[in-house]
Assembly symmetry: C2
């Protein structure tokens, strides 16, 4: 018996209230590992067109929810979209990841716009509205953005990188300009994320994909104040705020002081330790290693129960430690979702 | 007054004995940022020829010691050399990093040789002997190898990677073969590192560049037992054993149980916390962020004193958190070495 809708389930978990079972969704649950996604992507022609066409973006977000019964839909978009709206040209070469015209000087940073999201990124809000009406309030819709430090890393590097050394060197060599860049990105994100909440997003997640590169001291100086500003501005929207930081074992306390309601970790942070270090004050999200979906089912099942054993009884949202990997067997994703449901459902 | 030779200084620091000042060396101190290195590399023609020619390899190792007065020389080589000796073809494309013919099946792994280092890698031991005789026992010589998990990552991926997902997927999908690969690499490393110690290396460092990708649970299962086996075998050589793990904030306790004498961290692990978590039982090495060498001198100086403030009074070897970056100003390296010396020298 499902007494709660998935939306209630998810929102109650965010608030650490009792739930029938642990909700589960997966970062990058819409994506290349899904044949239906690859067909849609082909139809769109390219990745950015898919992001910018609300009907198709909504369809991409719905596919894994329909196919696997996931407990949340996340709007289909990319964290770099706001950078493009700020005036940083963006493209995606097939199989190569994002390319940006790198921001490389204080002058470049001064030229960045603070865009009006309803003019420059209306398709994101339209995709959220589409999702809301398709899901009829039964499944929660997650809106998102990249955290300012992570977006600054991409802007300075001109794409992805193993170590974002150009970005870190800029931090040290042009500290004032680096802070200006963070502030501009923050200024662009606040109205964008607020517009997503007003369009009907039930929760907002910030993705700090590269925050783990910084020591806690640098994180507190550069990254955290901007996240706090964003979350403080979003408080009035009344939706749960989720902070995901990749490689955050040394940043747990910093995440706890961000203003987030939900802290999301990769598989290197043991959830029971994160809970202890944050006095049990947060809903925790995570944190199965995505590569473990390549294991035989009996091993995968053990890995799932390992996560559940370390997760708080109340206030846990099951997720991966980072995105679903290309090449993942969709059957394993289905098995994962069913396993979490089976293992966490309380006796009737 | 320098009462101790650099060799005594270094070895006493490893044993946590009192020293005149904190010794300092830098990972990748010989390398592309140095004009003299670039000239030598040009003369050699390519990187692997430089590694395989003992006179030139010794010269590359000596350059930064001469130019900056560093307190240790590290033999000039590459962690992938033993993989090549095991039968994995290796090349370095200009500016692109290493390329290996990927190991991709249990069958590939069975074919890997356990090489005799005196036959397949004699140039490493000869370079150490050259260094010893050039330095006359006044400056310590560090020998090194890659840790087995890190070498397995390179072998499976066929080169470097942002996330080594092929390697992690292989760990989960072909666990037995993955363990065999680790065991073979371990079998190759033990005689190789022992031969380096017998050739005159004053200390041996294991580089676990990618161990930080694993959770502590996986690290204990896959990576740590092999490191313990290596260090146990090297104990009789009587030289300090250094374990460097990149991204190790969640692996401090695992490092402490490895059998190492010195634990080396990147800039994300605060040394005072590492010391507390290991009950002060180890010499700690590290851990200035290499990008901070791009900061103005007054900022760099503050960053150095920040490291020194967190480091143990006895049993600290100053180093970077990872290698010197290409593009680093050699003048800043000189300033760094002089600053550490000035800031840590006890009053006469």
């Amino acid at each position: 018996m499902n007494l709660m809708t998935k939306r209630e389930l998810f929102l109650r978990a965010c608030r650490k209230e009792p739930v029938d079972r642990t909700p589960v969704w997966l970062m990058r649950q819409a994506g290349r590992y899904l044949p239906s996604y690859r067909a849609l992507r082909e139809k769109a022609g390219d990745f950015l067109t898919l992001c910018r066409t609300p009907e198709m973006a909504a369809e991409a977000a719905l596919q894994p929810v329909r196919q696997f019964g996931l407990d949340a839909a996340i709007v289909f978009s990319d964290i770099l979209i706001p950078l493009e709206a700020m005036g940083v040209p963006l493209s995606f070469a097939e199989g190569e990841g994002p390319r940006l015209r790198p921001v490389s000087s204080a002058g470049d940073i001064k030229e960045l716009r603070i865009p009006d999201p309803s003019e420059s990124m209306p398709f994101v809000m339209m995709a959220i509205e589409n999702l809301r009406s398709e899901l009829g309030g039964r499944v929660p819709v997650i809106g998102f953005g990249g955290a300012p430090f992570t977006l600054a890393c991409y802007a300075l590097e001109g794409g992805s990188s193993r170590d974002f050394r150009k970005a870190l060197q800029f931090l040290y060599s042009e500290t004032e300009a680096f802070e200006n860049l963070l502030d501009r990105i923050t200024g662009a994100l606040i109205p964008f994320l607020d517009a997503q909440a007003r369009a009907g997003a039930d929760a907002i997640q910030l993705f700090e994909s590269w925050g783990g590169l910084l020591s806690a001291r640098l994180y507190r100086r550069f990254a955290l104040p901007r996240i706090r500003r964003i979350f403080a501005s979003l408080k009035s929207a009344g939706v749960p705020l989720i902070l995901y930081v990749n490689g955050a074992s040394h940043l747990v306390e910093e995440m706890a002081s961000s203003g987030a309601d939900v802290l999301s970790f990769d598989s290197r942070t043991v959830l029971s330790e994160a809970r202890e270090r944050t006095s049990g004050a947060f809903c925790l999200q995570g944190n199965l290693e995505p590569s473990s979906l390549f294991a035989p089912r009996e091993v995968l099942e053990k890995e799932i129960s390992e996560i559940l054993a370390k997760a708080p009884g109340r206030g846990h949202i099951f997720n991966l430690g980072h995105g679903v990997l290309p090449g993942t067997d969709p059957g394993k994703v289905k098995f994962l979702v069913e396993s979490v449901e089976r293992m966490t459902r309380s006796a009737p």
